[in-house]
């Protein structure tokens, strides 16, 4: 399991290669990359800064991965999340899950993202034409995390 918080960019291909390490039991690799958009809530966004809670962030993501491992067959998983200043089209977050079969990889990857969105202590401050603003949490993110409670 790899969990990293960093200001530098990341390379999805390199992270997947490190996760797979040639393990021939892996049949499925699901991954997700979140990217800064140039628009949010209808306003144009010229950039953002990501703040986090060092220590708790890593711990909460490790707990989320542990929960995913408890529910699905996960061979290995990796989460990298950037902090600091970011521009539109910059990569923000990466989640990779390797499993024997695709159903486990897809479910665990989406579960980790949905829980990270509501549980991991990161905060975004956007730069808009009207000045900087803290991004409000979305009700849709709570709903996305909540639906995992109802499922298998």
């Amino acid at each position: 399991m790899t969990v990293r918080i960093q200001t530098e960019d990341f390379d999805l291909g390199a992270e997947i290669a490190a996760l797979r390490k040639g393990n021939p039991a892996i049949g499925a690799v699901a991954s997700f990359v979140g990217v800064v958009r140039d628009v949010n809530e209808g306003d144009s966004v010229s950039g953002m800064t990501l703040e986090h809670y060092p220590g708790m962030t890593e711990k909460s993501i490790e707990q989320i991965i542990a929960q995913a491992r408890g529910r699905w067959n996960v061979i290995d998983a990796c989460v990298v999340h950037r902090v600091g200043p970011l521009q539109p089209t910059d990569q923000i977050v990466l989640v990779v899950v390797a499993s024997a079969h695709r159903g486990d990889a897809f479910a665990a990857c989406e579960f980790i993202m949905d829980y990270l969105k509501t549980q991991a202590p990161f905060w975004k401050k956007e730069s808009t034409r009207e000045g900087p603003r803290w991004v409000d949490a979305r009700a849709t993110d709570d709903i996305a995390a909540e639906r995992w409670r109802l499922k298998g």
């Binding site: 979140g34 990501l50 703040e51 986090h52 809670y53 220590g55 708790m56 711990k59 909460s60 999340h81 923000i92 977050v93 993202m113 990270l116 969105k117 509501t118 549980q119 991991a120 202590p121 990161f122 905060w123 975004k124 401050k125 803290w134 991004v135 409000d136 949490a137 979305r138």
Partner: protein
Amino acid sequence: MVTILYFARLKEALGTASEELALPADVSDLSALKAVLIGRGGAWAHELADARPVRAAVNQDMAAGDTPVKDGDEIAFFPPVTGG
């Protein structure tokens, strides 16, 4: 003493990222600690009011009002998270 950390909107509005606080004798859970901070008035009362969407952690675990707090704990207050 407890360490209290503030993040994001709270850090800016309160003008501080952290403080060391001697835990009053009658404070044994998060709700009671929050009431002490709200008692400072001004931005403290406004930002930590129950009507505001404030989250908290005790020793880096998400916490609720009845989560115990004790000497030596690291307590954090912050808005709902918006990473990912």
